[in-house]
């Protein structure tokens, strides 16, 4: 207890709060500058690039996008299609695979789980050369399928779902379904999926964000402007056309951040809980 007295309670708390608030500002400030500059004219930004007060050039900044390579609406729609498709597949099939690992006693169960653990860390990026050549040969470049279908096999999500099922699934419920004459597939869809809802919701949020933010694979596969996803649209903002359109670039960036902010701040409770879960899986 002696040491405790050397740093007075009050001073310690002030120090901690000042540090935490500074870090919070550090997180928010870049985005705040982005939102404010999205409403400022290029001339204003050139004379002083930092301002805390919005200006009135939002409309003219937006007008610059017309007919150029950055089209947020196309990017938004394409990203939505891909992300929703990929998320639905990941959520459903990872649950199914996890259920197979937990509810049934089959010979290859342990080896299969060991395999999932082993490939969990393999980054898809490293197989991109073969993946691209494969897609090129079957003429699937400029298609959304190679960005959606692989989501059926998501080792990390299966791992999480399995941990969740081991803790929550009561086999008596499954069995009572069997006695009632329900088929195995029916039991999974009608009884197990509702039990897994909380885990599915958490994993779905992360799967959606990961798919939405993915830049590497889409940028290799999609060369047709009409097929560009949001991150590819964002990369267009570095093009020469926007070199002097500072306000528009900030506006473009802001448009891509806005939907993520809405999702994040409305679901933050679940997201933070989901992140915390990732650590305890140890």
């Amino acid at each position: 207890m002696r040491h405790e007295v050397t740093i007075p309670q009050k001073l310690y708390k002030i120090f901690v709060y000042v540090a935490c608030i500074s870090l919070a500002i550090l997180s928010i400030l870049p985005f705040y500058i982005m939102f404010v500059n999205a409403t400022r004219g290029t001339y204003e930004i050139q004379s002083n690039a930092i301002s805390l007060i919005p200006s009135k050039y939002l409309g003219s900044n937006y007008a610059v996008f017309d007919g150029k390579s950055f089209s947020p609406v196309i990017g938004f729609v394409n990203s939505m299609i891909i992300s929703i498709g990929a998320t639905a597949l990941t959520a459903y099939f990872s649950s199914l695979t996890a259920y197979a690992l937990v509810a049934y006693n089959w010979k290859l169960r342990q080896p299969f789980f060991a395999f999932i653990l082993a490939v969990m860390m393999v980054p898809a990026q490293l197989t991109s050369i073969g993946f691209y050549q494969f897609m090129y040969r079957i003429k699937w470049t400029n298609s959304f399928l190679p960005l959606i279908l692989p989501a059926i096999a998501a080792p990390t999500v299966v791992f999480f779902m399995r941990q969740y099922l081991l803790g929550t699934l009561s086999l008596d419920i499954v069995n009572s379904g069997r006695i009632d004459g329900a088929g195995e597939f029916h039991i999974f869809n009608r009884i197990v999926i509702p039990i897994m809802k909380p885990a599915i919701a958490t994993q779905a949020i992360f799967a959606f964000v990961a798919s939405w933010n993915n830049y590497f694979m889409p940028s290799i596969l999609l060369t047709n402007r009409e097929k560009y996803t949001m991150p590819i649209m964002i990369s267009q903002l570095k093009g020469d056309i926007y070199k002097t359109e500072y306000g528009s670039v900030y506006l473009g960036l802001a448009l891509t951040v806005l939907p993520l902010f809405v999702v994040y701040f409305s679901l933050s409770k679940y997201i933070i809980a989901g992140v915390a879960l990732g650590g305890v899986k140890e």
Binding site: W106, P123, T127, G130, D172, I232, V249, V275, V280
Partner: protein, 326 residues
């Protein structure tokens, strides 16, 4: 041996089929294909035929000798270390503050939400946002430093290799320390409270409690963080590619950007890119294997227990169903 009644085990196989097929087609096959390409003369856009090289390891030798690849490896590790050390130290400090029972900090929920926030924003957006923030001669950072009187004239940060590397390391740090902190705090909250009570009775200070109880008990989680961060760091692509396109003068070139440039721009050297991918794959496999070995033991003990219970229940239920089915 034929069993009577329904054989449920086959559903284990049936329900795993979609995963297995998808994995084989979209991940294992591309991996094997990449491996094969690494040993061939395959380059040029629009071509589909190739043959094996006479010097079968030719691509690997060329890549390992390639000065750009060597620079990219150095940059990748350098920027990862430059981001990871401050990241883990800050996360540990915040963990100590947030889990201190005697001096409770209010607003933890708010801080966690704000600290983690940059992590979910598209990396492409963040890369270009920071590129804009560091614009020369009139970007927000230049304006801010001049308004505060720290600098007299604008400075072109983007032309300085060391500064560019520093900015990328900072972005990574800024995006990930919140994640690491949340994981460490949740790990610390999972530590047996009796340990803390005992230490309190023994008159340990907060500092002693943190270093003697919290940190040793977080060892596995710290290792997990280390390896996942390393694997992620070795694949760093979006930010170095879009922040300054690996420049200036390869100053921020990472191995992923190098691979991308080999394969998808200029000369379309698929074979060399594949060889470089395999080299990175080897490095990452070694790191993952280390994680696997370390994590498996600990996880096993706990999960095995759960599984045994589950197995028992399964057998009981199958028996029962069979009895009822008769």
């Amino acid at each position: 041996m034929r069993r009577k009644g329904v054989n449920y085990a086959r559903y284990g196989y049936i329900f795993s089929i979609p995963f297995v097929i998808t994995y084989l087609v979209f991940q294992l096959y591309p991996l094997l294909f990449t491996t094969i390409i690494g040993f061939t003369d395959y380059k040029g856009i629009g071509k589909i035929d190739f043959k094996f090289l006479e010097d079968i390891f030719g691509n690997f030798k060329l890549i390992l000798k390639n000065p750009s690849f060597q620079v990219s490896l150095k940059n990748t590790f350098g920027m990862w270390i430059l981001n990871f050390i401050p990241q883990i130290l800050l996360a540990l400090l915040l963990t100590a503050w947030f889990t201190n029972n005697r001096r409770k900090i209010k607003g933890q929920g708010f801080f966690k939400v704000v600290f983690y926030m940059p992590n979910i924003i598209t990396q492409a957006t963040i890369a270009i946002l920071f590129y804009q923030l560091f614009q020369y001669p009139t970007g927000p950072v230049n304006s801010l430093l001049q308004n505060m009187g720290i600098m007299d004239a604008s400075y072109n940060f983007l032309l300085n290799k060391t500064v560019s590397r520093g900015i990328i390391a900072f972005i990574q740090f800024w995006m990930w320390y919140g994640y690491t902190m949340i994981i460490l705090v949740s790990g610390a909250l999972g530590i047996n409270p009796e340990l803390y009570e005992a230490s309190e009775i023994d008159g340990a200070t907060s500092r002693q409690t943190f270093f003697k109880i919290t940190i040793p008990n977080l060892r596995t989680i710290l290792l997990f963080t280390l390896v996942t961060s390393l694997v992620g760091g070795l694949n760093m692509f979006d930010i170095p590619k879009l922040f300054n396109n690996g420049g200036p003068d390869n100053g921020t070139l990472t191995s992923s950007v190098f691979i991308y440039n080999q394969a998808f721009s200029g000369s379309y050297m698929y074979n060399r890119a594949a060889a470089a991918s395999l080299i990175m794959f080897g490095i990452i496999a070694i790191c993952s294997a280390a994680l696997f070995l370390i994590m498996y033991d600990k996880d096993e003990a706990r999960i095995r227990k759960l599984e045994k219970k589950q197995q028992k229940a399964l057998r009981k239920i199958e028996k029962e169903t069979r009895r009822l089915a008769k």
